[in-house]
């Protein structure tokens, strides 16, 4: 019993907290008592809070029994569990970020509780999506990786199409579902080929087998690598595979787009790190250059397409392709410098905070679900100074202007890229982001330098969304001064 606690419940506690919160919500859903509404949202908030507590507890406990399972004598499933579950500093960092993003998203939902009174399933689904993300980022085995990915993606397709009366929302869900499933199929095929060739799914064993020189030019390995590159590309929105992204981000309900762009993107890059920083690490020569080119093309495509957008939601969707390009540049630096993981993590979290903040803001401004355009922002900086400043911080961070965290995120990634790949990709990336500043500054111009007559008022008054926006904005400033404080390690 003790072994089960030390090797299973304790290391898994952040995940289990969310699982129990989700299951409790399902049980509560069966009781259609009006008075239970506050209880439901309390449970939804408690899940990530308790999970966060365990993340901190795990990070402060040194010499965890789990980290050295060699002396374990227990049931077969427990021994196997210690092999397929990876709990290191990076995993805990990702857990921390997933919990924080989930809490912030719940804060936005909280304000729309009245509107979505009948849709409590959203809370259940979003808790379990986070469980899937945690399983994904902690997977040390391709089977778990796949299960986590599916547990994350399938409910996400559903919540994208949550507003069934809205045609765009349905279209977005269908597109996201089709492209996402296609990516999943490619991933599964790649995994199947690897399994057929080597008879194992463990990351460590695969990495060891792939490192042998006879396998470097094995056709099966190369085909598997190509399929995996495409599959991961679909999931993270890398350029040749990014077609679904603007439509899906635009059509989804705004608060859910915020969650997709921050937490789902974070977990998808967790997948990329586990695959390309793990299994395919020995083949680095084969994919590093290609991936860097894809990254640079992503940055160009994202920024160029965003230039022409008037719709703010679509603009930030395109800009997210450009940001993904930057992060892919970091992934391409992984084989030569393992430190790059921290840089990717820093970029992902600060970018996620920016994205969540912007979409919470759009959520406040939207009237009757109509997407915002630039003109709606006119003069907002004077009518509502607090929100104006927060939005300015988000936009500066997205553009990469100091002293916001976005600048340091870009700086760290470019630093890694120059260190491992030379200056070519860094120069191209910088040229392209300079083009991006044009549309980011357009937002600032509308905020502070336009006549207020054309602007629209806030559609919703919501304290919890205000709090969430302020937390996001403050964290962007705080983490630029203390980059080391991000996460638990």
């Amino acid at each position: 019993m003790n072994a089960i606690y030390e090797y299973f419940f304790l290391p898994l506690s952040p995940v289990l907290a969310l699982v129990f919160a989700g299951l409790l919500l399902i049980v509560l859903e069966c009781v259609s008592e009006e008075g239970l509404k506050p209880l439901k949202s309390t449970v939804a908030f408690l899940g990530p809070l308790i999970s966060l507590y365990y993340v901190f507890q795990l990070s402060f406990t040194s010499g965890l029994a789990f980290s050295d399972p060699s002396s374990l004598t227990g049931p077969v499933w427990l021994v196997e569990f210690t092999k397929i579950y990876k709990l290191d500093g990076m995993t805990l960092n990702f857990f921390w970020a997933i919990d924080v993003f989930l809490l912030l998203t719940l804060l936005f939902f909280h304000s729309f509780y009245e509107e979505w009174l009948e849709r409590n399933e959203l809370l259940i689904l979003i808790e379990f999506i986070s469980v899937g993300m945690m399983i994904l980022v902690s997977a040390n085995d391709l089977l778990m990786l796949f299960l986590g990915l599916e547990l994350m993606s399938l409910p996400t397709y559903v919540i994208v199409g949550f507003r069934r009366e809205n045609v765009k929302s349905c279209e977005a869900a269908l597109k996201y579902f089709l492209f996402g499933s296609f990516g999943t199929v490619l991933l599964l095929l790649s995994v199947a080929i690897l399994y057929g060739q080597f008879g194992t799914l463990k990351t460590g064993q695969l990495q060891f087998l792939l490192a042998q020189t006879s396998n470097l030019s094995n056709p099966a390995v190369l085909v598997s690598l190509g399929l995996m590159l495409a599959a991961v590309g679909f999931k993270i929105g890398m350029t040749p595979f990014q077609m679904w992204l603007p439509d899906a981000y635009e059509g989804a309900p705004t608060s859910i787009t915020g969650f997709m762009g921050s937490a789902v993107k974070l977990a998808s890059f967790g997948l990329a790190i586990r695959i390309f920083g793990g299994v395919f690490l020995p083949l680095a020569e084969k994919w590093m250059g290609l991936m860097s080119w894809f990254a640079v093309i992503s940055i160009f495509v994202g920024n160029l397409c965003a230039l022409r957008q008037k719709n703010l939601k679509r603009l930030f969707a395109y800009s997210s392709i450009a940001h993904a390009g930057f992060i892919i540049l970091g992934v391409a630096a992984l084989p030569k410098d393992a430190q790059s993981q921290q840089m990717i993590y820093y970029y992902l979290v600060t970018y996620g905070m920016m994205f969540l903040g912007v979409f919470a803001f759009l959520n406040l401004m939207e009237q009757n679900g109509k997407s915002l355009e630039f003109s709606n922002l006119s003069g907002l900086g004077f009518r509502n100074p607090v929100l104006g400043i927060a939005l300015a911080i988000f936009v500066f961070s997205a553009a990469g202007i100091p002293p916001t965290a976005g600048f340091f995120a870009k700086y760290f990634i470019l630093f890694e890229s120059v260190k491992t790949q030379g200056v070519l990709f860094a120069v191209l990336a910088v040229i392209s982001s300079a083009m991006g500043i044009y549309y980011y500054l357009k937002v600032i111009v509308h905020l502070y330098m336009q006549d207020a007559s054309g602007g629209s008022k806030l559609a919703v008054q919501s304290t919890s969304t205000y709090i969430a926006i302020l937390i996001c904005a403050a964290s962007l400033l705080f983490f630029s001064i203390f980059p080391g404080r991000l996460g638990v390690f």
Partner: protein, 165 residues
Amino acid sequence: MTDGIFIAIGIFTLLCGSSVILCKSPVYSAFSLILSFFGLAGLYILLESPFIAVIQVLVYTGAIVVLFVYVVMLMNPNSSGAYRNWIFMIVSAFLAWAVSLYLLKALTLGVAPAVGGAHALSLKEVATLLFTKYLWPFEILSIFLVVMIVAVFALAKQSKETPNE
């Protein structure tokens, strides 16, 4: 003897597979798919894994293709307007053929031919593995199923604002 059966089943499966693509009516395509799955099941039996053969028939023929047929019958798609781009089809067929040929080269290089090669898994062994070695992934799957039930419920539930006419 085995070679003869293999070739016969192989040709049968390929014919059924091509008729899935070439049939004009979606219902015929769905039924050709069932037949080709039966052919695949035969190949699995030849590989001495009857368990996978049974699962193949149960899951694909029993569940998935029946769903296909239901969807086809419910939607009643217009078969004459089927999108058919011959150049695209030929190019993709050629690509698939080339990649498969390239993959075949790997057969001689494999490190672990143990997959299915040594002995076929019996039902009991699969069940034992599922509840011992793969218990945790199995539990994740159970969570997954619960979540999907909730998700389907969320999609299918009638909302008060927009009653379905």
